[in-house]
């Protein structure tokens, strides 16, 4: 009797319900999983400056002033504006197609000039007396190298002055929704300009360039030189008074 039992061994566990159990777990994870990744508008805040020296007086033509009041109404460059027109307005500011006196003057950057400046700053860096000078020259050198890169890829181009900036100010009761919409329109203006330029020069949209490939990385840098994204998250100023 004993022998018989041994020979049979313990019966196999029925694995028929294994699939059901796995299904149950699977459904649990399917339900709890959130696949959404966080998306949003990325911004860099300016660092706080300790010394309160008033900044150089920037020419009015170099500032694109966007005010949003407490009632979510827009005042752009002193004129009331609908949010729908903001994108075109910002694009006009950045391109200045009619060489208007009220919009930033874009200066031509040529290859010869870039090569000259790069050579100059190379020698300055090499001859710099102290560390701070060297760092300053190094920064200048990098800036000109970036420009040279842009000229190589795009040909001579027109550059926005360094002071040109879109300044966005809100009232204390402006809704966050409106603020995001304005940010979105400004972002869209820059993106559309970059896309157009990229399409014309490289046959590919700017947003389709990937920074993993070395040559496309340079293209991105070049396009950013022509249309920099300069939206100022300036010191908060209550615009309630101004806008009224």
């Amino acid at each position: 009797m004993l022998k018989k039992r041994k020979r049979g061994g313990p019966g196999e566990i029925n694995a028929g319900s294994m699939a059901d159990i796995a299904f149950l777990l699977l459904i649990f994870f399917l339900v709890t999983t959130t696949m959404d990744t966080d998306v949003g508008i990325l911004r860099l805040l300016p660092p706080i400056v300790e010394d309160m020296t008033p900044p150089d007086k920037v020419k009015q033509r170099n500032i694109y002033e966007v005010l949003v009041n407490d009632a979510d109404q827009l005042l752009v460059e002193g004129q009331p504006m609908d949010i729908k027109d903001l994108r075109e307005g910002a694009k006009e500011f950045m391109t200045n197609p009619g060489n208007s006196e009220d919009l930033p003057e874009r200066t031509l950057v040529s290859r010869a000039e870039c090569e000259q400046q790069v050579a100059n700053f190379r020698s300055y860096v090499a001859q710099a007396q102290n560390e701070t000078d060297k760092q300053n020259y190094q920064k200048q050198l990098e800036k000109w190298e970036d420009k040279l890169n842009a000229v190589k890829l795009l040909g001579d181009y027109k550059e926005l002055p360094g002071a040109a900036v879109i300044s966005l100010q809100t009232g204390s009761k402006t809704s966050y929704d409106m603020y995001v919409q304005v940010q979105n329109e400004l972002e869209a203006a820059v993106r559309e300009l970059r896309d157009e330029l990229s399409k014309e020069k490289f046959g590919k949209k700017y947003t389709e360039l990937s920074d993993i490939k070395e040559d496309e990385k340079n293209m991105i840098r070049a396009i950013r030189m022509v249309y920099p994204q300069r939206i100022s998250e300036a010191e908060p100023v209550d615009v309630t008074q101004k806008a009224n």
Binding site: A22, L26, T33, T34, D38, G40, R43
Partner: protein, 152 residues
């Protein structure tokens, strides 16, 4: 004739379901690995505004969230509150919070940390601006206005 008959009698053999558990397990492991459980309980109501020009936040491990919105429990009123981690916070707690989060990470990663602002769209800008000023003071400059994908 008999040949045809024979065939139809046989019918198609049943599909073997022996590998079904394996397939299910594979799916199960996929979901187990990709699942990220929600880290905090939301104590404020946040309806994100919509935007079209959005970018993805690449590295989830390097994102900290600040929630701003009206509190969930109505006993606390309807004024928007700030939530850091799992609790309500005041403005002056943002600085220490940033520092604590920086210390938690490797030094090289600190400049790459993004603070994602999840703000209810009905909120007034006052509180958002104040939070931004606090972040600037704490030298946490990389921020993200979290939005939903939409519009246009």
């Amino acid at each position: 004739m008999s040949r045809f008959k024979e065939k139809s009698n046989k019918g198609t053999p049943a599909i073997s379901t022996a590998s079904l558990p394996d397939i299910i397990f594979m799916l199960l492991f996929f979901f187990m690995v990709t699942t990220v459980m929600r880290e905090v309980d939301l104590k404020v109501k946040v309806t994100l505004p919509e935007a079209s020009e959005v970018e993805k936040l690449e590295d989830k491990a390097l994102v900290d969230y600040i929630y701003i919105g009206p509190p969930v429990s109505s006993s606390l009123g309807t004024e928007p509150l700030i939530q850091l981690n799992d609790q309500y916070a005041k403005l002056d707690e943002i600085g220490p919070w940033v520092k604590a989060n920086n210390d938690r990470r490797q030094e090289a990663e600190v400049p790459r940390i993004t603070r994602s602002l999840k703000v209810d769209k009905e909120t007034h800008m006052k509180i958002v601006t104040d939070v931004k000023q606090e972040l600037r003071k704490a030298n946490a400059l990389k921020i993200n206005y979290s939005t939903a994908r939409g519009r246009q």
